[in-house]
Amino acid sequence: MSNLFNIDIVNPEQSFLSKDNVFEVVIPAVEGEIGILKDHIPIISFLKPGIIRVFSESEEQSFYVEDGIVEFKDNTLSVLTSSIFDLKDADKNFVSESISSAEAELSKDNIDDQKRFLLNHKVEVLKSISIN
């Protein structure tokens, strides 16, 4: 029996990625990374800034996401996100701009702990992208 399942990544403007031959997806869920294999229990969770890794038979793809919702059901993983890009065509300027805007946001006083945590995390991930 095959151990493959489907993945759909959609953003508001279009369907970003749709594949039916992936065997593992690692998603940066808000409480830690989750690796999803076939026949995972139905789950709904949401994302924090991070990297989605999609492992299919032929290749491995990585995407940066800022936020989003994931739903896994009947061996289909749906990822709804408003901002996503492929790490391969990451725009250096865009990344550094995002870092500086996140840092500017961090320096404000009126943010709560959760937001501070998310922003710190975002800066960290973005920096790791820009180094590579």
Partner: protein, 293 residues
């Protein structure tokens, strides 16, 4: 009876108007295709979003403590209406239809002695509503600068709504837009987004509901998801609206081109008739002049 010269001038002027309307029709047709594509591409997102919310709200047992965006504040006193229109005119009844729909809703709210607040998105809606409802309009947003509809703009509107909701500035929120059915038909829509109206039809299949695992818990996911859903709904409405606008403009300009063509034909006949009448008159004068000699 207009002179020959007047008729000639009118024919040229109608012809040049026809050229303009024809060009506008072509432009609208090209834009329509793109807008339609965008609307179709954006559909999966809002559909999936709806599914997730539906599944989530099914599994919420404690309705009392459910997020207010889902179940409402328990009151219905202050209504916030988001009227989405185009920024440009010359598109037939497109803007007027939305306004008409919105106005009948406004009248209902006012007659029930409830408080009305209006946010207009798109300058045409503001222009038409400011005369009668100026005191109710709390915000007036226009995205004239952005060339394409993008999620970022919709998110801005969504954030304004959330902010107002958190400040308890309204209880019920409805949006007005045109739903794109086909090029000729656009249906003005009224959609309530706060509190969320559950589709009754979808309730039947609740027998096979999956037991989802939630991480973190349902409440937290919902409170994260619902604000996003509002932006998504607005975005969907904006996409539908832009497709409708182009469709409506295309039909209107097509009609205008045809009417101009008819007008040209009629004027040409009139022009030819009076030209011939003048010739005949001159002939009669010459002949009777010759006879009298």
């Amino acid at each position: 009876m207009p002179s020959l010269d007047d008729l000639r001038k009118r024919i040229t002027s109608v012809k040049s108007t026809q050229k303009i309307t024809k060009a506008m029709k072509m432009v609208a047709a090209a834009k329509l295709r793109k807008a339609q594509e965008n609307a179709e591409k954006g559909r999966p997102y809002s559909e999936k979003m709806n599914n997730v919310i539906l599944n989530l709200s099914k599994s919420i047992t404690d309705k009392e403590n459910a997020p207010k965006l889902l179940v409402g504040t328990g009151e219905e006193k202050v209504h916030l209406c988001i009227v989405l229109t185009a920024d440009r005119g010359l598109c037939g009844g497109f803007n007027t239809n939305i306004i008409k729909k919105a106005k009948s809703y406004f009248e209902k709210i006012i007659s029930e002695n409830k408080t009305l607040k209006i946010i207009t998105v798109g300058s045409k809606g503001y222009d038409q509503l400011k005369r009668q409802y100026k005191s109710y309009i709390v915000e007036n947003i226009s995205f004239k600068e952005s060339k394409n509809i993008n999620y970022f703009d919709a998110d801005k509107v969504g954030k304004i709504i959330i902010e107002k909701f958190e400040k308890n500035e309204f209880d019920v929120c409805a949006i007005f837009y045109n739903k794109f059915k086909n090029v000729i038909t656009q249906i003005p829509q009224e959609q309530q987004i706060v509190p969320l109206n559950e589709d009754k039809d979808d309730k039947d299949d609740s027998g096979n509901d999956n037991d989802y695992e939630f991480e973190p818990d349902e409440d937290e996911i919902l409170s994260n998801l619902l604000p996003k859903n509002i932006s998504t709904q607005i975005f969907k409405a904006m996409l539908e609206n832009s497709a409708s606008e182009q469709g409506s403009r295309m039909t209107a300009m097509d009609n205008a081109t045809r009417n101009a063509g008819e007008l040209v034909d009629r004027l040409t006949i009139e022009y030819n008739r009076s030209r011939q009448a003048a010739i005949t008159k001159e002939l009669i004068e010459i002949i009777s002049g010759a006879e009298s000699l």
